[in-house]
Amino acid sequence: MSSKSILVIVRHPPHGSSWVREGLETALVGAALGQPPTLLFSGDGVLALLAGQQRGALGQKGSAAMLEGLSLYDIEPLWYDRYSLEARGLTLDQLMSGCQPADIAGMIARHDVVMSF
């Protein structure tokens, strides 16, 4: 397989839709094929990084457990947009471990392919 760098951007919050889960599944498959994508959370996507999440209505699985396991697949750190975090009144210590602020413009420019969820 020819080698391209892939950036997965998650821009939606967890539980309200399946975007986070589907973005993470895409990233995991990339890792399983030997090329862990870069994973970035921006906009409401940063809300997926909040610590202390639970299952949702009808026992629907959320995405927090998946996120916490990503480092096992060499998908780390969990990059986030600091402006999105600030705009929501949140700070790094409210997020799960392994999160790191990103320079989004530079990150997009460094990757061959960008997938959005």
Partner: protein
């Protein structure tokens, strides 16, 4: 090396344009499609990021009754859309 940013959400309903400010690099292109073309309406223009070329997809403007003043916003047809995806290195969809 440049990026085409595709926006398909109305700026009055979504924050994509604001997030774009920290996501674009000099020389990038932005194409407004679908409900994104409502950003051509006057009050949204002040939020556009600087240093990038912003265009709107003509067919989606016409279907919505939006006629962007040519001095503010250039419109392109679908062939122009295709050409932009070919001349840039990657496309990012904001929705």
């Amino acid at each position: 090396m440049s990026t085409l940013h595709l926006i398909n959400r109305s700026p009055f309903a979504a924050s994509a344009l604001q997030e774009l400010v920290s996501a674009v690099s000099e020389g990038d292109h932005v194409l407004l499609i679908e409900d994104g073309v409502y950003a051509a309406l006057g009050t949204a223009a002040s939020k556009w990021p600087e240093g990038v070329e912003i265009r709107a997809l003509r067919e989606d403007c016409v279907s919505r009754g939006i006629a962007p003043a040519s001095t503010l916003l250039e419109t392109i047809d679908v062939a122009g859309f295709v050409a932009l995806t070919a001349s840039t290195d990657r496309t990012v969809s904001w929705f």
